[in-house]
C-alpha cells in the first residue's frame, strides 16, 4: 500500500515529422479521477478567456475540400453516360449496441494521497488531544502510509506506548528532537498495529466450541515482540533527549501533561 503520488501532467506530444510546431502548454483542466473534471465548463470559459471571442467574426478561409466522389464515364446505351462513385467504400458493419466504455473507477480510501501538516515532522513533540492518553506530550516517530502518525511517549517517561494517532487529534509543538540517523524498523507498519478482532458471531463461537452466551474479555497484554520494539524505539528517543543541553527540563516536559489554565485560549497560544 504505497502512498500514491499526484499524477504527473501529460507531456505535450512530440512534433510529428520534421516540422517544428509551436510548443503546446499543459492542459489546465484535468480529470479528478472519477470522470469529474477539476474545472467546470463555465470556469474553463473564463480561464481560456473565451468571452473575448464571442461575437467576433473572422472571415474563414475556404478550405480546400477533398473530393469524396468521382464521376466516371460509363459505356453502353441507356446508361446515362456517367456514374458518381464514392472514393471510399461505405462501412459494411453497423454496431447495434453502444461500445462498453471503461470508466475510471473511484479511488478507494487506501489509495488517497495523504497530506500531513507541515509542522508534523519526525521528532516533533506532540500533544495528544483524545483517547486514553489525552493531554500527554509524546514524540512523533513517523507518518505511516495510512496517514496515521506513529508516536511514542517514550513509555518510560509517560507510559504512552507505540501508538498510531490521526493527525487531527494532535497538536504539533515547535519543540523538535533530533532523532539523527534513527531508522524505524520496517516491520512497524500499519498491519503491525491492527487489532486482531476475534469474531463475536455466535456461529463462529459455536464452531470453536466456546460458550456462546459468555462474552469473555481478555485483558490486553503486550506481546514480547511489542515490548522489544518499544524498547528499541524508546532507546533512540531517550538518547535524543539526553543529547540536548536542556535534557532535564525536556524530560520533565515530556513527563508532564498539557492542560489549559484560566485565560489560556488555545487558538491564541503558540505551540
Amino acid at each position: 500500500m504505497a502512498p500514491p503520488q499526484p499524477k504527473a501532467a501529460a507531456k505535450p506530444a512530440a512534433p510529428v515529422g520534421g516540422v517544428q510546431k509551436a510548443k503546446l502548454g499543459k492542459p489546465r483542466n484535468y480529470d479528478l479521477g472519477n470522470g469529474v473534471m477539476r474545472f467546470s465548463k463555465s470556469k474553463m470559459f473564463h480561464k481560456k478567456a473565451k468571452y473575448k471571442f464571442i461575437g467576433k467574426k473572422h472571415p474563414k478561409a475556404p478550405k480546400a475540400t477533398k473530393p469524396t466522389v468521382v464521376v466516371k464515364p460509363i459505356g453502353g446505351e441507356k446508361n446515362g453516360g456517367t456514374r458518381t462513385v464514392l472514393l471510399r467504400r461505405r462501412t459494411a458493419f453497423y454496431p447495434t449496441q453502444d461500445k462498453i466504455k471503461s470508466k475510471p473507477h473511484h479511488k478507494t480510501f487506501s489509495k488517497h494521497v495523504r497530506r500531513t501538516r507541515p509542522s508534523l515532522t519526525p521528532g516533533t513533540v506532540c500533544i495528544l488531544l483524545a483517547g486514553r492518553h489525552a493531554g500527554k506530550r509524546v514524540v512523533l516517530l513517523a507518518v505511516l502510509p495510512s496517514g496515521l502518525l506513529l508516536v511514542t511517549g517514550p513509555f518510560a517517561y509517560n507510559s504512552c506506548p507505540l501508538r498510531r494517532v490521526p493527525q487531527r487529534f494532535v497538536i504539533g509543538t515547535s519543540t523538535k528532537l533530533d532523532l539523527g540517523a534513527f531508522q524505524l524498523p520496517a516491520h512497524l507498519d500499519d498491519a503491525y498495529f491492527k487489532k486482531n478482532k476475534k469474531s463475536a458471531k455466535r456461529s463462529v463461537k459455536r464452531k470453536e466450541g466456546e460458550d456462546i452466551f459468555v462474552s469473555k474479555k481478555a485483558p490486553y497484554a503486550p506481546s514480547e515482540q511489542r515490548k522489544a520494539d518499544q524498547k528499541l524505539v524508546d532507546a533512540a528517543v531517550t538518547a535524543a533527549v539526553r543529547a540536548r543541553a536542556d535534557r532535564k527540563l525536556l524530560r520533565g516536559y515530556l513527563r508532564a501533561a498539557f492542560g489549559l489554565r484560566s485565560s489560556h485560549f488555545p487558538h491564541r497560544l503558540r505551540f
Binding site: V125, R137, T175, L249, G252, A256, F258, R270, F271
Partner: protein
C-alpha cells in the same frame, strides 16, 4: 480628580488600534471632536489624521506650536529623547512583557512554570523557618513549639534569566 492628559498639540499618544497599532505618535492639531492630526517622525508614522478613540494618551508632551511641520516635530521628538523615555516607562515595559508572553511556546511555558514552582518552594521554606524562629522566641504567640526546625524543602534558587516572570 481633574484630568491630566489632554488631546492637545504636542501630546504623545500610543496608537491602540488599526494599522499603526503599537506605534507612538504626537498630536499636531485637533481636527474636530473625534479626529486629530498626528505625526510620528521618530516612530516611522507619516503625518495623517487619526480617530481619537484609536489613541491612548501618554504622560509625555512635546513642545511645539500647533500645526508644526514634520521637521519641527522631529526636532522636538529627538530633543526630548522621547524614544528612550518611552522605552524606560513602565507602560512600554508591560507591553514588551505581554508580547514576550504571547511569543512563548509550549515548552517555554513549561519552563516558566517549573521555575515558578522552584521559587515558590524556596520562598515557603524561608517563610516557614522564619515563622518557627519567631514562634520559638515567643513573638508569635504560639506556646507549643517543635524543637526541630521546619522541614527544609528544596531551596535551590531559580535560574535568574527568566523572561517576563511574574
Amino acid at each position: 480628580m481633574p484630568f491630566e492628559r489632554y488631546v492637545e498639540p504636542g501630546r504623545v499618544a500610543l496608537v491602540a488600534d488599526g494599522k499603526l497599532k503599537g506605534k507612538l505618535v504626537s498630536i499636531v492639531d485637533v481636527i474636530d471632536q473625534t479626529r486629530a492630526l498626528v505625526d510620528g517622525p521618530g516612530s516611522g508614522v507619516p503625518r495623517q489624521q487619526i480617530r481619537l478613540n484609536q489613541l491612548h494618551l501618554t504622560k509625555f508632551r512635546l513642545s511645539y506650536s500647533f500645526t508644526a511641520p514634520t521637521r519641527v516635530v522631529r526636532k522636538a521628538w529627538s530633543d526630548a529623547k522621547l524614544n528612550e523615555k518611552w522605552a524606560d516607562s513602565q507602560w512600554s515595559k508591560n507591553l514588551a512583557n505581554k508580547e514576550k508572553r504571547a511569543q512563548m511556546t509550549d515548552f517555554d511555558r513549561f519552563k516558566l512554570t517549573s521555575a515558578r514552582v522552584k521559587r515558590n518552594r524556596a520562598r515557603t521554606a524561608v517563610f516557614k523557618s522564619m515563622k518557627a524562629k519567631a514562634a520559638r522566641s515567643g513573638a508569635f504567640g504560639k506556646k507549643k513549639v517543635p524543637k526541630t526546625p521546619a522541614k527544609k524543602v528544596r531551596t535551590k534558587k531559580a535560574p535568574a534569566a527568566k523572561p517576563a516572570k511574574k
